[in-house]
C-alpha cells in the first residue's frame, strides 16, 4: 500500500529543479498574501522546507567506497556499473530471491518525499527524493512473522570503488533497522532526486532513506536485504561502537563523543552560514517517537 504518508505538498511527481523552485516562489508569495494556509496541519514540518540545489546534493557526499573526501564520490562514482542491478532479498521471507531492479520498479508506486537529511557530522540538507516505501518492497517478498530486523548491504565492486583499497571500514558497508522502523511509512527506498534518476554518488540505483536517523543509516546502492530475528551488525558500529549506535536517531541531547549534536549547519549557506538547532528525530518526532516509547535513548543511541 503506497501513499500512506501525506506531506503538506502534493502532486509533485517528476518535477524538475527549475519548476520546483519556481513553484516554491509562487507558493511563498501566495502564502505571504494570506491566500493559502500552508502552515495548517503541517506534518513533519514539511511546509517550511526549502530543498537544497541539485549541485549541493550531488557534490557533497559521504560514500567512503569512493574515497573519504566529500568530493570523491562525485569524482569517482561514475565508474560504478548499475545496470543490470539485482537486489537479493532473503532471510525470513516467503519469497526469497534475486529481484531485478526493473521488476521492483514496475511493482512499486513512486512518490516524491521532501525530507530533511541530517549527517552525524552535524551538517544537513533538504532533499526532494523520489522513491517507494520500503514496506511495499518487503511485502513483495513476504515478511515472515519471526522476522524482527532488516539487514542491508551495499554493493562491493572493488575494481570500480577506489576507496575500498583502504580498510576505512569493514567492507561491504552494512546497515540495519528494526522491522517496525523498516515498515514505517516515512522509510523509503529512493531511486531519484528532483525527479531524475538518483546519481551514483548519492547511491544509485536505489538506496534507503530513513529521515529521522543520521545519514549513515540511509545505506546506498543496496544489493541485499535480509530479514533476521536478531539485531544485524552495522558498519559504523563495528568500526566504533562507542560513537555509532544501532539506532542512531537524530538526537540533539546525545552528543557524539567527538562533537556536539545540538546544532547543525545547512549546506549552501556559504562561508558565513549560521548554525541552527537540531530537532529531536530530525523533526519527525510526531511520526516516529512512538517507536521508541519506554526506551532510554541515551543508552540506545
Amino acid at each position: 500500500m503506497a501513499l500512506r504518508w501525506k506531506g503538506t505538498l502534493k502532486d509533485r511527481d517528476v518535477t524538475d529543479e527549475a519548476l520546483w523552485l519556481n513553484r516554491r516562489a509562487l507558493l511563498g508569495g501566495a502564502a505571504g498574501l494570506g491566500l493559502m494556509g500552508i502552515a495548517g496541519g503541517a506534518r513533519a514540518a514539511e511546509g517550511d522546507l526549502e530543498p537544497n540545489s541539485w549541485e549541493e546534493i550531488t557534490s557533497y557526499n559521504n560514500y567512503y567506497e569512493f574515497g573519504t573526501g566529500k568530493d570523491d564520490p562525485a569524482r569517482y562514482a561514475e565508474r560504478l556499473t548499475i545496470a543490470p542491478w539485482t537486489v537479493r532479498i532473503d532471510g525470513l521471507v516467503d519469497r526469497p530471491g534475486d529481484y531485478a531492479f526493473e521488476d521492483i520498479l514496475s511493482k512499486m508506486t513512486l512518490e516524491e518525499r521532501l525530507y530533511r537529511f541530517r549527517c552525524v557530522e552535524a551538517w544537513s540538507m533538504v532533499v526532494p527524493w523520489t522513491g517507494f516505501e520500503l514496506a511495499d518492497l518487503l511485502e513483495l517478498a513476504g515478511v515472515q512473522s519471526s522476522a524482527k530486523y532488516v539487514a542491508f548491504e551495499t554493493v562491493l565492486n572493488r575494481d570500480e570503488m577506489p576507496g575500498t583499497a583502504y580498510r576505512v571500514l569493514d567492507w561491504p558497508y552494512v546497515e540495519g533497522l528494526r522491522l517496525d522502523e523498516a515498515m514505517h511509512p516515512l522509510t523509503i527506498m529512493a531511486t531519484g532526486i528532483y525527479g531524475k534518476d538518483i546519481p551514483k554518488q548519492n547511491g544509485a540505483p536505489l538506496r534507503l532513506v530513513v529521515p529521522w536517523k543520521y545519514g549513515f543509516k540511509s545505506i546506498k546502492s543496496v544489493v541485499r536485504i535480509t530479514l533476521t530475528d536478531s539485531e544485524p551488525p552495522t558498519a559504523w558500529n563495528k568500526a566504533n561502537a562507542r560513537e555509532y549506535g544501532f539506532y542512531s536517531n537524530v538526537n540533539p541531547e546525545v552528543s557524539h563523543p567527538r562533537w556536539s549534536q545540538a546544532t547543525e549547519r545547512r549546506i549552501g549557506g556559504g562561508l558565513f552560514a549560521a548554525r541552527q538547532d537540531t530537532l529531536p528525530f530530525n523533526g519527525y518526532g510526531d511520526e516516529v517517537a512512538g517507536l521508541y516509547a519506554g526506551m532510554d535513548l541515551s543508552t540506545y543511541f
Binding site: E55, S59, Y60, T68, L169, R258, T263
Partner: protein, 205 residues
C-alpha cells in the same frame, strides 16, 4: 653535490621573502571560499585547508635540523620564519573554527574540555604561543641561548599534538593522518640522544 647546490641557491634568498609570500595560501583559500571554489561547505573546507597547511609547515620546520645534520643542507636561517608562519596558520585554523564553524561561545568551551581531539589540538596551540612570542633576537639574548633552546623544544610536543589531533578527528581508519603521525614520530626519533651523538661524531670525524 646536491646539498651544496641547494645551499648555494638559497644563500641569497632573504628569509623575509617567506613572510611576504606566507599570506598567499590563506588569501587564495579565502577567495575560493567566497566564490564557491571550496565547494558547497566552504567553512569546513577552509578550516581543514588551514589546519593541514599548518601541520605541513610544522613538519617542514622539524626537517630543517636533520637536513643539516644528515644531508648537509643548511636551511637554518629559514627556520624561524617557517615556525612563525606555521603558528599563524594554526591561529587562522583556530579562528575559523571559533568564529565561522562553532559560533556559539558556550559550545566552544564545552568542546575544548569534552572533546579529546579538540583538547589535544588546543594544547598544541597553547604550547606554540610562548614559542611564537620568543621568536625574536631580543628573546634569544634575554633568555640566553641554552634556555631559549630548551624552551623551543616544546615544538616537539606541539607538533606531535597537532598530528595526534588530525589522527583523532578522522572517521574510520584513514591513512593520511597516520602518514603525518609517522613522519612526525620519525623526525622526533632523529632527535633521540643516541642518533644525535652519532651524527655529531660523524660530522666532526
Amino acid at each position: 653535490m646536491i646539498a651544496d647546490r641547494i645551499n648555494a641557491a638559497t644563500r641569497r634568498v632573504p628569509s623575509w621573502t617567506l613572510y611576504i609570500l606566507s599570506p598567499l595560501p590563506a588569501l587564495w583559500w579565502l577567495w575560493q571560499g567566497l566564490t564557491g571554489g571550496l565547494g558547497v561547505e566552504p567553512i569546513k573546507a577552509l578550516e581543514h585547508a588551514l589546519g593541514e597547511f599548518a601541520l605541513q609547515l610544522l613538519v617542514v620546520g622539524l626537517c630543517i635540523t636533520p637536513l643539516r645534520r644528515f644531508a648537509g643542507v643548511n636551511l637554518l636561517r629559514f627556520r624561524r620564519a617557517v615556525g612563525l608562519i606555521a603558528f599563524f596558520y594554526v591561529l587562522l585554523h583556530l579562528l575559523v573554527w571559533l568564529v565561522l564553524d562553532v559560533q556559539i561561545p558556550a559550545q566552544i568551551w564545552a568542546d575544548i574540555v569534552k572533546r579529546p581531539y579538540i583538547t589535544v589540538g588546543m594544547a598544541g596551540f597553547a604550547l606554540l604561543i610562548p614559542l611564537a612570542l620568543s621568536s625574536n633576537n631580543l628573546s634569544v639574548r634575554r633568555l640566553g641561548g641554552l634556555r631559549w633552546r630548551q624552551l623551543h623544544r616544546l615544538t616537539y610536543a606541539a607538533v606531535l599534538l597537532g598530528a595526534l589531533h588530525f589522527v583523532m578527528l578522522a572517521k574510520g581508519f584513514q591513512i593520511e593522518p597516520l602518514v603525518y603521525l609517522i613522519a612526525v614520530l620519525g623526525l622526533l626519533a632523529l632527535r633521540l640522544p643516541a642518533l644525535d651523538t652519532m651524527s655529531r661524531r660523524r660530522l666532526r670525524g
